[in-house]
Amino acid sequence: MVEAQRKPRETTIDAAEVSRFAAMSREWWAPRGKMRPLHALNPVRIAFIKDIACDLFDRSPRKLDCLSGLRVLDIGCGGGILSEPLARLGAEVVGIDPAEENVEVAKLHAEQSGLAIDYRAATAEELADNGERFDIVIASEVVEHVAHLSLFVKRAAEMVKPGGFIAVTTINRTMKSFALAIVGAEYVLRWLPVGTHTWDKFVTPEEMYDEFSIYGLAEIDRGGIIFNPLSGEWRRGLDTDVNYMIAAKKPG
């Protein structure tokens, strides 16, 4: 971090964003708490990642240990809402988050759940600098918060093993996403604290595609995440105007 502060243009971390999530970290696992939307989103994003992994690594999606032996990096793991299910499916998960407090919450919870997850208060570039490699690199609800998208994708892509893939879930930059994700989710429904998102930092699927291409990754799957206000559930759909998922493979 000291290194990063001396050369601010080289980092992908935005200090103001980090402190905002640290304040929320105790709330991560409260089932009806502030992170309820993320818990609700979980089945869709896990299914996205799992289905691609089962396809690429020839696993049976019906097996409870379908990800066994796969090394997974969860960037911006927060309290571990995504890391834990992936570990339960057998993956060797490394969860990183720049906010120390999040990592402490995540460690404590994994221990209570009887799961071995390697949580670290670290940044993606620190792991990339150490030469760490993964079968799956995940940036879920992260790229809309990073300071420098292209640098972030570059360092994340470095860590994907040949034959592995990167999965991103995020929010599109459209008028609809402005209305739903910021006005709707933050101001009207109060799902998220006001200021959680800054619309102009949102990334379009085309921009993600371009970044992937620059760093040698080929898009393999893309889908929308649609909220059903009646059931309160999220499901996968075709409309990528608001929330979407995108995955790209590093040639083997």
């Binding site: 009806r32 999606p61 409870l64 339960r88 059931s231």
Partner: protein, 408 residues
């Protein structure tokens, strides 16, 4: 009590080894396999299933569930119901006019099968043992839930489970421990149950007479036998079951009719009080109510067990979907999904059968015209009839996969 340290937490603990509990256990274990731990707790597991004259009608959806679970093939004595006749008359009417007749649909699938309670429980226990469910012959009398586990003791041992499924019956102990209230109504009616032998074949036909005091159902069993479910005001039911055999037979013949020839009472008649009761919530932290623990409905439409199996199929599907995504089988989101899926459906069915009972258990002449008009309309409208038959078979609405005979 010697409290040991809890073992590795169970994924799902089931309180109650009755039909709903055992079916849930078998569904989970067969679907999710060795990596998913299921234990079933019931003091009744210490002995052979008790003698029980009650029979259950297994409708289409429930049969498919038992087929998918490999339980159906173990039931040798299942009697199909291939036709149903519904009449509405006074006891003194010489001829009971038939208002509604159903016969099996084009595919030749029976409406339901009659199976003896005990035979079903024996088959489910065998399947549970083979599936590798841990069977514990003691009950669960208390539990504590926190954000991660339900902790409880059974016998001398302490356990932890991600989810506790309460299939511990109409008087569910876990339901009261979770402080879940029920909306209950007694009918001051009882159902008299007995097995009747008759001289002629029943031709796989079920008959339901709507009499002023309540319904009188004749349900075919294997051989020249039928089971009756005879509804009367509770005091009258008490009087009837205590009658000397000859007088009981006379009362029976008055209702049963003589179309199947001479009657013989094969098992002593017993009266079971009728009630409707629906839990205000089907869930609590780390707890899901299943079957009679969640709802007891008027047995008029024969829907009690089928409703319970809908709970089983829905909960098993919710759990399997979650487990395959590495998600906690007792997560609040899963429990909410189960509750959304099952509770509205149950309330609707409860209200419908309650309404039917009130509509039919009545001697008022205007009401009789009204309901006969209703039955007449249904009888002449094939689409409506088909709808009612499918509803009774549990094949309408958002049907859980197991009830469609699909694997989850």
């Amino acid at each position: 009590m010697n409290k040991q340290m809890p073992d590795k937490p169970l994924d799902v603990a089931i309180a109650g080894a009755g039909i709903a509990g055992a079916a849930l256990g078998v569904a989970l274990k067969q679907t999710l396999g060795g990596g998913f731990s299921v234990a079933m707790f019931d003091p009744a597991l210490a002995r052979e299933p008790a003698r029980d004259d009650r029979v259950v009608a297994i409708a289409g959806g429930a049969r498919r569930l038992f087929e998918a679970l490999g339980v159906w093939e173990r039931l040798v004595e299942a009697q199909p119901i291939r036709a149903m006749e519904i009449t509405d008359s006074k006891l003194s009417d010489a001829v009971r006019q038939t208002f509604l007749e159903f016969s099996e649909d084009e595919e030749g699938e029976p409406f339901a099968h009659m199976v003896e309670n005990r035979a079903l429980i024996v088959a489910l226990r065998e399947a549970a043992e083979e599936a590798g469910i841990e069977l514990v012959a003691s009950g669960i009398d208390s539990y504590l839930a926190d954000e991660s586990f339900a902790t409880f003791s059974s016998g001398e041992k302490q356990y932890r489970a991600r989810l506790l499924a309460a299939a511990d019956g109409a008087q569910s102990r876990l339901r009261s421990l979770a402080k879940i209230q029920t909306i209950a109504r007694g009918y001051d009616q009882s159902g008299i149950v007995a097995t009747i032998g008759h001289a002629r074949e029943h031709d796989s036909k079920a008959v339901q007479h709507f009499l002023p005091s309540g319904s009188f159902a004749i349900l075919p069993l294997t051989g020249k036998r039928s089971s009756i479910v005879w509804t009367e005001a509770s005091a009258e039911a008490k009087r009837i079951v205590a009658l000397p055999p000859a007088e009981f037979l006379a009362e029976l013949e008055l209702r049963f009719g003589l179309q199947l020839g001479e009657l013989e009472v094969l098992s002593p008649a017993r009266a079971y009080p009728l009630q409707i009761s629906i839990a205000r919530s089907f869930i609590a932290e780390r707890l899901a109510l299943v079957g009679d623990a969640a709802h007891v409905i008027h047995p008029l439409a024969g829907q009690g067990l089928n409703m319970g199996l809908r709970d089983v199929a829905a909960l098993a599907e919710c759990i399997a979907d979650n487990a395959r995504l590495g998600l906690d089988p007792g997560a609040p989101e899963l429990l909410s999904r189960y509750q959304r899926w099952r509770r509205a459906d149950t309330v609707a069915m409860g209200l419908a059968t309650d309404g039917l009972n009130r509509l039919f258990s009545n001697d008022s002449t205007p009401l009789k015209y009204l309901r006969d008009l209703g039955l007449g309309i249904v009888d002449r409208a094939p689409a409506l009839k088909k709808f009612f038959a499918r509803e009774a078979a549990g094949l309408t609405g958002d049907v859980p996969k197991l009830l469609r005979g699909e694997f989850i």
